[in-house]
Amino acid sequence: MNIHEYQGKTLLRENNVAVLEGVHCTTVEQALSAYDSLGSKVVAVKSQIHAGGRGKGTLYHPETREHVMDGGVKIAFSREEVESYATNILGNILVTIQTGDEGKLVSNLYIEAGCDIAHEYYLALLVDRDNKSVLIMASTEGGMDIEDVAHNTPELIHKVVVDPNAGLLGFQKRDLGMSLGLSGAALKSFGKMLSNMYTMFVREDCVMVEINPLVRTGADEIVALDSKISFDENAEFRHKNWDDLRDLSEEEDVEIRAKETGLSYVKLDGNIGCLVNGAGLAMATMDVIKLYGGEPANFLDVGGGANEEQVKTAFSIILEDPNVKGILVNIFGGIMRCDIIARGVIAATEALSLEVPLVVRLAGTNVDEGKAILAASTLNIHPADDLAEGAQKIVALIGGDE
């Protein structure tokens, strides 16, 4: 789960990590009064969306798609500039390298006081799969795309792995700070900031905190100028406040509804809907559709213990996508019994008066009963014995329609 920069800044401030003064706004008027209240001649006017590359992004009109302005993060030197930038940003679509061509509608703005920057650094904390620990990465190359830095000058990225038993140790903070060329008051400020950020990372169940740039001010203070924070969804049960931080407009509506029913759904661009049990098998089903010349319309895992109702919901979610021209059901029954799935499929196709071709592949527990139920039905369901046959059948069936 991702949160906005302004929400991240609040969290950092609460955890004693230095950030600049700033105000969250949703209207141009609020942006202007924020400028007045900050009392800073120079301010940053920042689009708030859950995607990186905002500064180098482009704003477009949501309907006409006309070009509005280059750059989703602007430095304003006057009240007039704040007004003009805020007007150009709010209610328009921001396209960045991370949003895809459709971009994202900007409804939130952050007005932040200016700052005397001596140097920009990069800092990230994340859960590292290889070390099975929290990894801290820092670089002197702040403000750049870190993927490029990692590719071109990997020696400029410094890493520290935190032993979960020992926690973040003093020498690790010193080593990392010194590798950034820090000394004196700046090194001390860096160490304090890092301790507080690590404590926050653990307490708030983060999976990633990225600060790019982290800056050293003229007064040798270390300040987080940006913030990109992701929480671990698995830990939601112990963070009641996440509901308030979640911006549902940043998430796919249908993916949220799928999740509420215990389904895992990701929409894709193809035309063959898939309904599968198990994440690995669901991915493999998409792959095999593609292998035999089709294009999957979605990833959908109904989980290990789906009931008739969930199967029905799964079908209706798949059919919401107007591109879907056929559906492949692929179930390897373990705990889930094939006869129950077969009944669910029949109930769903009847209730939704399914019109597109349907191929059903069943295997595992009670497979013979399941197949018999499908065979006895008067509905137009095409059975398949294995995944390859199922994929070939559905590809042939929709090919015939075109």
């Binding site: 671990d232 698995n234 112990r238 390897f332």
Partner: protein
Amino acid sequence: MSIWIEEDAKVLVQGITGKQGMFHADKMVEYGTNIVGGCTPGKGGQTVELQGKPFPVWHSMSEAIEATDADATVIYVPPPFAAEAIMEAADAFDTIKGEGVVVCITEGIPTLDMVKAVAYVENRPGVRLIGPNCPGIITPGEKGGAKIGIMPGHIHAKGRIGIVSKSGTLTYEAVAQTMSIDEGQSTCIGIGGDPVNGTGFIDCLAAFEADPQTEAIIMIGEIGGNAEQEAAAWAAGNVTKPIVGFVAGATAPPGKRMGHAGAIISGGKGTAEEKFEAFRAAGIACAMDPSELGKVLLESLKAAGLR
């Protein structure tokens, strides 16, 4: 022989009095698993009926292991308490026996809880953690066998193919593929799809290589991380037995989590293409479709003079 779990291994069930725990413990007994009891804090002294027979429940894992000399435990505890259950089991096995296998089925454990739990287990080198978020481990026997997890027991048969996979249902698919060419399994392990877990691919490959019963291996990966690439590189220099591989997620879009917490292509890394390439470079025979695993395995067995 088999790996880590013998056919007659003595098994405890943590969370045995819960709905999930009781349901699956019953299926395990039905398969023939030698369940010796369970553990639910606060419910010690009770008994649980599985397949018409009573099984004892203990308050703590140390009591349970002291009383039963168990070899393994399987955890069906809800996510908020699962990491603690892993650590309790690891501590009890380490203190009492110096060894033991901990299988965690639970899906949805907070990642930082697992960071802590994995470090805890690694400090107790005799203890092996399998999972979490996995189907478990099964060693099919002549009659019954040891099924420690949620996989459908009846699809398995004792044999010489070792199977390791991140995914549950794809493991079942691989099992069915071995059966389609009249081969059984030595041991099948689901290592789980979480970003931070216990036993990895390399542990499994090393154990299969050392196991006289296992003559060939099926390894199934998925997008995310680079465990498959590392395992392939390791196998190239250390595994003499034929390996057949598949990787799920060739069509997965970047940046999207595909069901499993760990199944995500991030920063262009962890793609299926990259993993298939690593497999091929290591001499692993790849199936591009899981329904072809049987065919590819048969070819590999023939090439190795095993059929």
